[in-house]
């Protein structure tokens, strides 16, 4: 199956990814991002979304974990990461293992 990629970001900086073959969409409001995500989920297999937006619409993002596609992944925005990506990892880890094996000191460093 041929897949398509998209990136949703706040601000124009996601346009950089357009040059490497990812469809880039720039939105300035979380609700618009939500609508866009719902639309893109039908046509694209991988959707990157900057973490500031992803955090705002995390309920919609969580909606897409059940099946293999589409894959919705948070990426940091140009202002740097807000830790949402790590938050997801941490949540999944606690769900599956019940213990924290990566972020022992709570700073996002590898504990072992």
């Amino acid at each position: 199956m041929k897949g398509k990629m998209a990136i949703i970001g706040d601000g124009d900086s996601v346009l950089a990814f357009k040059a490497v073959g990812i469809e880039a969409f720039s939105v300035n409001h979380p609700e618009k991002a939500r609508d866009l995500l719902k639309k893109l989920a039908k046509t694209h297999q991988i959707i990157f979304i900057t973490d500031a937006l992803a955090k705002e619409i995390s309920d919609t993002v969580a909606h897409y974990t059940a099946s293999a596609y589409p894959t919705v992944i948070p990426v940091p925005s140009k202002n740097g990461s807000n830790g949402y990506g790590y938050e997801i990892l941490k949540k999944e880890m606690e769900k599956a293992l019940g213990v924290d094996i990566l972020f022992k000191d709570g700073k996002g460093e590898i504990g072992e």
Binding site: D12, A19, I46, A68, M93
Partner: protein
């Protein structure tokens, strides 16, 4: 543990014993499955974490670099230049099976055209070149991260589900079947004893009458 609402008969007892056997076997299998999934999960999550560390750094770098580039050019120019990608990437999306969980498997093939950049150098600042080059490099990592993160999410979900099943079997289903079996055995023994006493009593009564 609540006992099930069944008739204390030999037939029910036989049925329940068969069910207990199945439940115990299922419990063992599910427990093994969960253990293996947890093992794989902890391997994958470590890899995901390492990759996310890299990607967080790289993507922020790309976007920062690009915003510098954007600042040096007019908005309309930037949009014009970047709206025509010449580097087309092909993404092959399949699924693979980890412990009966369908996880995504992604394969990226880049068709780089002769020109490395999708625009002419005349109109574009070198900052934009850097950001595009960086974006190209980070793309491979991004795709791999997408694959891994999705795998972690789906495995976590599956582990949670099968843990719940193991617990339900271990702490609800199996004890309740055992309890019911005990109840039926006791009831049957009781019936047997009462039948025996009745017979002895009748025998006594007959002996008294005849004697």
């Amino acid at each position: 543990m609540a006992r099930m609402n069944v008739n204390p008969t030999r037939m029910e007892l036989k049925k329940l014993k068969a069910r207990l056997k199945t439940a115990e076997r299922g419990h063992k299998l599910l427990k093994d499955k969960t253990d293996e999934m947890v093992r794989r999960f902890s391997v994958i999550i470590r890899e995901t974490k390492a990759l996310r560390d890299e990607v967080e750094k790289d993507v922020a770098g790309v976007l920062k670099q690009f915003s510098v580039a954007r600042g040096l050019m007019s908005k309309s120019d930037i949009e014009l230049i970047f709206s025509m990608p010449s580097v087309s990437v092909e993404l092959e999306c399949t699924t693979k099976n980890i412990m009966n969980v369908e996880v995504p498997a992604l394969q990226l093939t880049e068709n780089r055209s002769a020109a490395k950049y999708p625009y002419s150098f005349a109109d574009v600042t070198s900052e934009a070149d850097y950001s595009v080059e960086l974006a190209g490099k980070v793309l491979v990592k991004l795709v791999r991260l997408a694959e891994l993160e999705k795998t972690t999410m789906m495995l976590a979900e599956e582990i949670e589900k099968s843990k719940r099943r193991v617990n339900a079997l271990e702490y609800v289903m199996i004890p309740s079947i055992e309890e019911t079996i005990r109840y039926i055995t006791m009831k049957l023994d009781e019936n047997e004893r009462s039948g025996l006493t009745r017979l002895m009593k009748v025998k006594d009564m007959i002996a008294e009458r005849d004697g």
